[in-house]
Each structure stands twice: as structure tokens, then as C-alpha cells.
Subunit: 180 residues, 2 copies
DNA sequence: CGGAATCCGCCACGATACTG
DNA sequence: CAGTATCGTGGCGGATTCCG
């Protein structure tokens, strides 16, 4: 049992939830527990699993087939994490072909609403984001191009000066300049 | 310009947002754009930056100091990603000590509510999760222990059998079986 | 079928140093 | 001050194999 990943034995509270927290101090308490939990539930696969488990309980292979990009290792890991966090429950039927069902716990069900909100936001704004990205990329590309041109120009000038400085006549080698 | 990370030039749509999407098919369209955006905004630092930028605009160093765990590299990267996605805007004041302000765009402001919801959920349920984890860990520890004991027992039996077999005729080793 | 264990590539992230 | 460039490393995640 290598334990491989960062499952800490001791939760180690760092700040209680007394309800007196301030939005402006939210950042300070960030790297305690909230951050960790957030990273866990918002990771690559957890969102998917929770979303799929919302309506009905599913078996391991069913989940595997529905998610499609996931490896059995990652699915097992994700499910164990979610089970550990009390978000999904695991029930084993000791039949001849072993069968294991996963379903959302009440706690997991409450999370689902929040997750849906996030996903919905993403869906609703993905075109805006795509547009913003395209604009940004275009702007960067232009800047890059002009920077390249200017750099080439400077280089050509430097070459010219050097050539003129180097002994003898040396006619303008500016012909070697490569406009792009 | 190494481009280092996965900033793809071409967005590459894979499913339009025609409003006719079904919750049950949400999983299938997962690995297209939504997943990518989700990973971006829910990553380790973006949430923090957006949360901090909610009320007022901040300079680079101000953000750096407030987040505290972050390296200048990650902050720069995060800010550029958010800028690219059109969630924060960057304004440069060409003063003698250069000054750069970051603030949320309207789009970024809309995201803030959703993020707050997620964080709030986490804050409200972190004790439940901690409890579930403790219970899970305890259960696993117990199972682990019993498994170890049984393994040791089996090993002892195996040793007995081998010793009996090595020593000539070997009387029925079934006596060494430990009924449980 | 439902995993656990092992090996391994790769890249995300952090620390450091340099630029404008 | 506000970054970029370079390097080193831990761990995430995939492929494979074995077990109950």
C-alpha cells in the first residue's frame, strides 16, 4: 500500500467556520482546507462523475463507458476520493460476477446544484470566451510580427554599421536583409 | 516564445450551443470546450485572483502579496490566461516605475457570483467532509489491520506446511489449520 | 467484473536569474 | 515594478499486468 497520493491522515483544521468570516479575508484562509477540497471536486473527472451520478446510481463499467476518455485507474481513484469525502456511496453486491454500484450521497447531491451552476455559466459564456481568446491571440500575433520586423531591422542596421566599421571599403551588405 | 502551455491557437468547436443540449448528453460533450474552460477558471489560482479582483482593481504586486503562496511566474501566467479569456482587463501606465492594474471585466464579474457559490458551499460543508474523511480513514485502517493479521496467519500456516513437508513423511498438516 | 500494483513519460509548478 | 527565460523536480495521469 503505497498511498501514492496526498491523502493526508490528519485533516488539520486551520480556521473554523464560525460564520464570522469576511470576504476580504477570504484570500488569507485560502490555502487551508477550502482550497484542497475545491481542487478535489473541481478536478478533471470529479465533476463528470458527480454529474453522471445525479439522476441514477451507476456501476463501475457504466461510468467508465459513459466518460470514455477516462482510464480505469483514474476512475477508481476519483471514485475513492469522492467516497472518502462522503460525496458518493459505494455498495458491493457479492454476486458471482462482482457488482459495485455508486450513487450520490445527500451531501453529494447538494454539491450537484452548485456544480451545475458553474457548468451552466461556462456553457452560456463559452462563445464569449472563445471570442475573447481569438481577439487576444490576434492582438498578440500582430504585436509579435511587428516586434520581429523591428528586430530584423535593428539587426540589419547593426550589421551595416559593423561592416562599415570593419576595415576597407566594404560596400553596403544591406542586401542580405531578409524582409518577411 | 516557447508557448509552453496548452494555449491552442484554434478554438476548435465540437458542439454548438444551440440551446438544445440535454442534461443526459452533457457527459458526451465534456471534453470539448466546456471542460477546458472549467479547468482554467477552477484551477489553483484563478479562483483567488477573481475573488480578489471583485471589489477593486489591483496591481501586480498587490495581488502577489495578497495571495502569498503564489510565485510571480504563476501569477503572471494566471493573469494572462484570465486576460485572454476576457475575464480580467490589463491596463498599463507608462510611468517611470511601471504600473499595471488588473480588474474584472463585466464578463469576469458575472463569473464571480458562481465562484462565490462554489466557495460558499465548500466552506459550509468542509466540516462534514472532514468528518467523512476521518470515518473513511478509520474504516480503511481497520480493514488494513485485519488484512495484515490474516496475511500473517496464512504465512504462518504456509511455514508449518513447508516445515512438515521438508521433514520426511509429514503427518497430516491439516491440524495446523486455524478455524476462525 | 472491479479493482490494486507497478512502471513511466511528461508537464505543471516552483525557484532562480535576467531584462526593460 | 512587472514581467520573461531557463532549469530541476514532483506528481498526475496513461498503459499494462495481476488478483479475487
Amino acid at each position: 500500500m503505497t498511498m501514492e497520493d496526498g491523502i493526508s491522515k490528519s485533516p488539520g483544521y486551520c480556521g473554523d467556520t464560525d460564520g464570522d468570516y469576511d470576504v476580504l479575508q477570504w484570500d488569507t484562509r485560502e490555502d487551508c482546507e477550502v482550497r484542497q477540497i475545491l481542487d478535489r471536486i473541481a478536478d478533471k473527472w470529479s465533476l463528470l462523475v458527480i454529474a453522471l451520478l445525479d439522476q441514477r446510481s451507476l456501476r463501475f463499467t457504466e461510468l467508465r463507458r459513459r466518460i470514455d476518455g477516462i482510464s480505469q485507474r483514474m476512475l477508481a481513484r476519483t471514485l475513492r476520493h469522492l467516497e472518502r469525502d462522503g460525496l458518493v456511496s459505494r455498495t458491493v453486491y457479492p454476486t458471482v460476477p462482482p457488482r459495485v454500484d455508486y450513487e450520490l450521497t445527500p451531501l453529494g447531491a447538494t454539491l450537484h446544484h452548485t456544480i451545475r451552476a458553474l457548468v451552466t455559466w461556462t456553457e452560456e459564456h463559452q462563445n464569449q470566451i472563445a471570442f475573447a481568446r481569438a481577439a487576444y491571440d490576434a492582438r498578440v500575433a500582430v504585436e509579435q510580427e511587428t516586434a520581429d520586423r523591428e528586430a530584423a531591422e535593428r539587426e540589419a542596421i547593426a550589421r551595416d554599421v559593423l561592416a562599415a566599421g570593419a576595415g576597407r571599403v566594404a560596400r553596403m551588405p544591406s542586401e542580405s536583409r531578409r524582409p518577411r
